[in-house]
């Protein structure tokens, strides 16, 4: 069952989004434009922003074309699994470290300096480093922008490993998904590196919280079921006043609230809880330290981790709400969404061109053996002398018989008839019918009708007829199936008969 896309962007949505964009690279752009345009047009006008439109687009894609390997779901699963694993590891690590720091065999009290050095100071140091790095990246983002890359890379590795496992599973997606996975993860992390680094930051805080919870749980448990003595000892100082200053400083967050003696040991309690080996067998204020230690872990370990976790969670929310999708990578989808649906193609015609199954009989080229007919109208465009000269088979003695219409052609028994026709244009039906009619009359006299096609007249000279146009004439005449028609052309290539 696919989880529907919610009303806000999430990291898993970003991965799904990139995955669908990647898939679109392999499909037809016209169909994509149609699909994406319709998503955009269905949105209310107040949602015509890229984040809104893209989220709606993603929701439609998830509904209509579910992914075989869903990178978003995979991310959620990988993140969830890692989270629980780190929670357990952190908890047990904290508990183990706390147990070690609170080791007490009844002879030497628990040294608070060791406890602080193991459980509080490293966390304090990490907190300071984190704050510094965040400040530096805010102040000079360009120079320190690389700080989040290892974290982002960690997320990539995590996801890639999950993906590989899924693909390797029987029934999983094809191996060619590997390439897609690599490109997809690189691209998503490249585009949204800070977001994924932020998620890694949250993951680290979860470890920290679990660590401190483990430490506190162990501490409280040991206090509840055992009687532990606490004292202090140091080679660097033996001054209780200095220790009191340090302790008071560390207890600053809760000093006003709980006060000396409860929230942290008072000077007198510090003096009386110093461990001096072999000098005393018991420490009068051995129990004065534990509330202070507990609060140190809470205030310097647990609470900062929770605070950073909440900060990272809010920052993620903020970054997601500020996604603009206006970079180069997202332009194509936006363009498709805003494209106009313009179509001007013709409806496919079911009709086919006319064709004949019979070809006009063709005879070999021959010399003109009689006078040739020509229309009066044709002579208006060609000079007679030119025509005679131009006809390749004519002798100079021959004359042209000028007629007004092809119906004026008068066939004589057994004699071929020559008709000069302007052949530079395709024949239309009324011309063909007139010629066919003349041919029929010639057939009655056992004569053939020779059509001599002329090329296009020009002001400076005539152009030969193209072989293609001669072929058009022949084909058109074929349709009338008049056996005694022969076609000749004046083309430079010779007769087209």
């Amino acid at each position: 069952m696919k989880k529907p896309v919610g009303p806000r962007w999430t990291l898993s949505h970003l991965l799904q989004f990139e995955q669908y964009l990647k898939l679109d690279e392999q499909t037809d752009s016209a169909a994509q434009a149609q699909r994406d345009r319709s998503v955009f047009q269905r949105l209310p006008a107040n949602q015509h922003t890229r984040p809104r439109a893209y989220l709606a687009w993603l929701a439609q894609r998830v509904n209509q074309s579910p992914l075989a390997v869903d990178a978003g779901a995979l991310f959620n699963r990988a993140y969830g699994g890692t989270l629980w694993m780190l929670l357990l590891i952190g908890f047990f690590m904290g508990a183990a470290m706390s147990y070690g720091a609170l080791y007490y065999d009844g002879t030497v009290p628990v040294n608070v300096a060791i406890f602080l050095a193991l459980l509080v100071l490293p966390q304090l140091l990490m907190l300071v480093l984190l704050v510094l790095s965040v400040l530096l990246s805010l102040l000079a983002g360009r120079w320190f922008s690389a700080w989040y890359r290892p974290a982002a890379k960690l997320m990539q590795t995590l996801l890639a490993a999950s993906w590989r496992r899924l693909v390797a599973r029987p029934g999983g997606a094809q191996q060619d998904q590997q390439q897609l996975q690599q490109e997809l993860l690189q691209q998503t992390l490249g585009l949204h590196g800070p977001l994924f680094a932020n998620r890694a930051l949250r993951l680290f805080q979860v470890v920290g919280v679990a660590f401190n919870l483990g430490a506190l749980a162990c501490f409280v448990l040991l206090l509840a079921v055992t009687d532990r003595a606490f004292g202090w000892q140091s080679s660097l100082t033996d001054s209780p006043a200095l220790v009191e200053q340090i302790v008071s400083g560390l207890a600053w967050p809760w000093r006003e609230w709980l006060g000396a003696g409860v929230g942290y040991p008072s000077l007198a309690q510090i003096e009386q809880s110093r461990i001096v080996l072999a000098a005393q067998s018991s420490i009068p204020q051995a129990a004065a330290w534990w509330p202070f230690l507990l609060l140190c872990v809470v205030f310097y370990g647990l609470l900062p981790r929770i605070a950073v976790y909440l900060f990272a969670a809010l920052r993620e929310h903020w970054l997601l709400s500020r996604l603009s999708f206006d970079t180069f990578h997202y332009q194509e989808l936006w363009r498709r969404m805003q494209s106009i649906q313009l179509h001007s193609f013709g409806h496919a015609s079911p009709h086919t061109a006319e064709a004949s199954t019979v070809h006009t009989p063709i005879t070999a080229q021959q010399t003109i053996s009689a006078n040739a007919y020509v229309l009066q109208d044709t002579l208006a465009r060609y000079r007679q002398a030119d025509l005679i000269h131009w006809l390749p088979f004519a002798s100079s003695e021959q004359q042209l018989l000028i007629i007004d219409a092809f119906s004026d052609i008068a066939p004589a028994a057994g004699k071929p008839i020559y008709v000069v026709v302007e052949g530079w244009q395709p024949p239309i039906e009324e011309v063909l019918l007139a010629l066919v009619d003349a041919a029929k009359r010639a057939a009655e006299q056992h004569s053939d009708l020779h059509i001599l096609l002329l090329g296009k007249p020009g002001k400076v000279g005539n152009k030969p007829i193209s072989p293609r146009m001669a072929e058009v004439w022949r084909k058109k005449l074929d349709l009338h199936q008049q056996a005694n028609i022969l076609v000749h052309a004046d083309s430079a290539q010779g007769s087209e008969s």
């Binding site: 037809d28 752009s29 016209a30 047009q41 922008s145 690189q186 691209q187 992390l189 490249g190 585009l191 590196g193 970079t327 180069f328 990578h329 332009q331 194509e332 363009r335 494209s339 106009i340 649906q341 313009l342 179509h343 001007s344 193609f345 013709g346 409806h347 496919a348 015609s349 009709h351 086919t352 061109a353 006319e354 109208d377 465009r381 530079w424 244009q425 395709p426 024949p427 239309i428 039906e429 009324e430 019918l433 296009k456 007249p457 020009g458 002001k459 400076v460 293609r468 146009m469 058009v472 084909k475 058109k476």
Partner: protein, 462 residues
């Protein structure tokens, strides 16, 4: 009479083989239209609706040519009627008469209230049949205009035609269906408004849609080209070998693999451009002497396209100086322009001496033995220029190829480079962002792609 459609309906009418289908094919950018010099290919009317957002706002109709104009005119002149009555009478008389099928079919859109565009090839003499056709249209008396479609460049008879048109048409326009570019198509659509004033809003909508669509296509093409350049500029191909004797073979394979990958992407880009401009059905052939027929990595391509040595050196020097200035600023000016000078010298020198280098091969020793041959990313400043030049050349050919023209005509093949003729500042920016894309990580890549995209858009617009 049949129901009149609510949108403008315009029938393209004329003598057979005058280029009616070519005009329609070019005007609607539909290369599925049968364009052939064998008359009779158009035996029935074909409708070309212009649909915007699912709504038909304009419809053009391709019709068969007149077959019996003189006979029809003779008959019409005997009727003593005109306009729709004459049209109805004609159809009643000739609907079932053999030989008049085409004439009846071409009248069908006029029955539905279509205006008409009369298409003629004015490179030929005016004939009595043409006079008859124009007279028939005058008698039927529909809103009409004439399109002069020169099939040849011959203008000997133009004056005769102009005289004849003046007697029959108010609106006359030249339109070469084989050469018309987008602007000419839009100009023709603009002219249609003059046929019937009430159609102006619909035709304006169509023109706006065509304009927007054209602009969108251009931007889509620029995006596609930027993606292609990004891929090619960042591509590297590796191949390992352990035996020194196999080094040459490994090198050759790595280079071939590298070049093949870019060539394949280029073909993908070309296909995308063809789709964008609707050249999808007809297999458009490139002109005989087009450098696009040459292999991308052939010496001819690199000779004909790209910047000249001088241009390349100047642009690279400017680009190098620009990068150096950034470093000078980072030092707060303490370097006194040293980085700028060094950058200019280095980039200019590299361009001058390595501008002709097609593909460079690098060798890397592997930690566990063996050597890796790495081809790319290509650092040659001429590389993005040649790639872009080819892409732009192809884009120009496709975008300006009229759909009615089914040959590979290319008007000017003397100087095929586009980038040699653009402003030197654009050449410099091109080199700058191409260089940055080659080097940048994912964070900066987006920004540099955006910049390169703008440069390419400016080149096309210039």
């Amino acid at each position: 009479m049949q129901a009149t459609p609510s949108h403008p309906l315009i029938a393209v009418i004329g003598h057979p083989n005058e280029g009616k289908s070519s005009v329609l094919s070019t005007l609607t950018e539909d290369d599925t239209v049968v364009v052939n010099d064998y008359p009779g290919e158009t035996t029935h009317c074909q409708y070309f609706p212009v649909v915007i957002g699912g709504e038909t706002i304009l419809e053009l109709v391709d019709t068969p040519g007149f077959q019996n104009p003189q006979n029809i005119l003779q008959w019409m002149q005997q009727q003593g009627s005109t306009d729709d009555a004459l049209l109805a009478a004609f159809l009643a008389e000739f609907a079932n008469q053999a030989g008049y099928e085409h004439d009846c079919e071409l009248m069908q859109p006029l029955v539905k209230g279509a205006a008409l565009i009369y298409v003629v090839d004015c490179s030929r003499p005016l004939l009595p049949v043409d006079e008859a056709e124009m007279e028939i249209l005058r008698l039927i008396n529909k809103p009409r205009m004439a399109i002069i479609n020169f099939k040849d460049d011959d203008r000997d008879y133009f004056e005769d035609w102009t005289q004849a048109f003046r007697r029959h048409f108010n609106v006359i326009r030249e339109f070469n269906a084989h050469k018309a570019r987008f602007q000419e198509r839009i100009a023709l659509l603009e002219t249609l408004k003059a046929i019937q004033q009430s159609w102006e809003p619909a035709i304006n909508r169509a023109i706006d849609a065509f304009n927007d669509d054209w602009q969108n296509r251009r931007e889509d093409a620029v995006l596609a080209i930027t993606e292609y350049l990004t891929y090619a500029l960042r591509l590297s191909v590796g191949r390992t070998f352990s035996d020194e004797s196999k080094r040459r073979e490994a090198e050759a394979k790595a280079v071939a693999d590298y070049q093949q990958k870019i060539a394949q992407y280029e073909q993908k880009l070309f296909k995308r451009i063809r789709h964008l401009y609707h050249h999808t059905v007809f297999d458009l052939e490139l002109a005989d002497h087009s450098v696009l027929r040459e292999d991308l990595f052939s010496e001819t391509t690199w000779d004909v396209l790209g910047l000249t040595k001088k241009q390349l050196t100047i642009a690279a020097t400017g680009m190098g100086a620009g990068l150096g200035v950034t470093l000078d600023m980072a030092t707060g000016g303490l370097s006194h322009g040293l980085f700028a000078a060094a950058g200019a010298l280095f980039a200019g020198g590299s361009a001058y001496f390595k501008g002709a280098e097609l593909t460079r091969v690098k060798l890397k020793a592997l930690p566990l033995g063996g050597t890796k041959i790495v081809v790319g990313p290509n650092q040659n400043p001429q590389f993005p220029v040649v790639l872009l030049d080819r892409a732009l050349l192809y884009l120009n050919e496709i975008a300006n190829h009229a759909h009615g023209n089914r040959s590979g005509d290319s008007p000017d093949l003397t100087d095929q480079s586009v980038l040699r003729h653009v402003d030197s500042s654009l050449q410099k920016q091109l080199l700058k962002y191409a260089h940055k894309i080659t080097k940048s990580g994912y964070g900066e890549l987006e920004e540099n792609q955006q910049k390169l995209n703008q440069v390419i858009a400016s080149v096309i617009g210039s």
